[in-house]
Symmetry: C2
Subunit: 223 residues, 2 copies
DNA sequence: GCAAAAGTGTTTTCAATACACCCATGG
DNA sequence: CCATGGGTGTATTGAAAACACTTTTGC
């Protein structure tokens, strides 16, 4: 590393905000840092990008290896290139949003014993290293701007969800209450979701009908 | 460059699609390539990113140095990291959209004698090198999705534009005709544009009123 | 039978659309 | 005076928003 071209060799990392919905709360998957700097702080999952892979491949592999997750929805979000964003080195970050349904998040996931991970509610984020809080917040804002378009949240609800659950997810991300009747009317009349004929069991009150997302429905503006 | 970390040193380039509106046509500024490979083909302006600058700084400098343009609207668009996108080397591209008004584009621009540039209508793009056509097309699609939100096109019209000119720009980018009365109604009733009290001169027919964009108007969905 | 949560229809309001005639200028 | 392009108002339609009572279950 001593040619005049050195200054053109950049280090890139991918950083992913993986969201799921659990117990009615939108949560994000974070990793606890085990070494200095920022030991004990939390970071977004990610990886250094090598010359032999695309950014997407890098992320898919990183998520599989570090988190034991496969088959999630990924969406490129933003690039962070401030020279001082990492105090030790110039690292350019490429941020992505990932969405997984809660069945995959909880039952199909193979946890790695050497990595401490945890899901956090997006209104209760722990202390985060580097500029990762800023990146996460921007990703949440991006998610918010995306869900007004139909079908984006379907990655969080693969099958057999109830309308109150779906409405709850939209309300949390949009940060406001929605009318139950209008919400139902919109999703059903646009053919976005399909009645399974079943109802859920347990819990208080009247059982809710179960739905799944109509894969054929085309994208359109919702809110 | 022979440590085991070599594979983590990536080369990055910025690539910008700079749009303006001229004679009622949306045009993009391209550079003609003077050397092999792809000699004689056209490329998007851009630059290799060094370790000591942000991507934004890099682009601002590249546009100033190569094109003699300053003060344009810039918006990050997408990252291209296919391993084979440049046959000679692995280069990751970060694409941006740039918007300049036609006064700046034509009168405030200092052309560089050693660089051959030209504005092309977006429905008449010449043969382009590498994957630049794909990148440009994606940027055009991105622009199309952006202008449905107010105020994005104001960078193309700094002052003293006519409503037919503005409508024409929207029609070209959206690819469809719009109703004159409804178009006018929307922009004026939302307070997005302000009447200067003047009218333009020359040309056939009744002179059109001149407007400027209201800087205080807040963003909202238009189409 | 009552508490808890889900399901359902109608009215009102506002924004989007469709539509046709008059006006100012240049030649 | 006529050709050209710009400016203007109204009626209709459709989607969004507001709103309250009934139904099903567990205890």
């Amino acid at each position: 590393m001593d040619s005049g071209l050195d200054k053109y060799y950049n280090i890139l990392e991918s950083l992913v905000s993986i969201f799921t919905i659990d117990q009615g709360f939108i949560k994000v998957l974070l990793i606890r840092k085990k070494s200095e700097p920022y030991k004990g702080y939390w970071i977004l999952p990610g990886n250094i990008i090598s010359k032999e892979e695309t950014v997407e491949d890098n992320i898919v592999n990183a998520i599989d290896e570090k988190l034991g997750l496969r088959d999630l929805y990924l969406k490129q979000c933003h690039i962070y290139s401030d020279v001082g964003r990492d105090p030790d080195d110039r690292i350019i970050a490429i941020s992505y949003i990932g969405l997984v349904d809660n069945v995959t998040a909880w039952y199909k996931r193979e946890e790695r014993s050497d990595i401490e991970t945890s899901w956090f509610r997006i209104d209760d984020i722990p202390k985060m290293a580097y500029d990762h809080l800023e990146i996460l917040n921007r990703n949440i804002a991006f998610l918010r701007s995306k869900i007004v378009n139909s079908n984006v949240l379907k990655s969080l609800f693969p099958s057999d969800f109830t309308l109150p659950e779906l409405q709850n997810a939209y309300e949390q991300i949009l940060g406001k209450k929605l009318d139950r009747r209008n919400f139902r009317k919109k999703f059903i009349s646009l053919g976005l979701i399909v009645d399974t004929g079943d109802t859920n069991v347990g819990g208080n009150g009247r059982p809710a009908k179960l739905y799944y997302f109509n894969e054929e429905a085309k994208e359109r503006t919702l809110f």
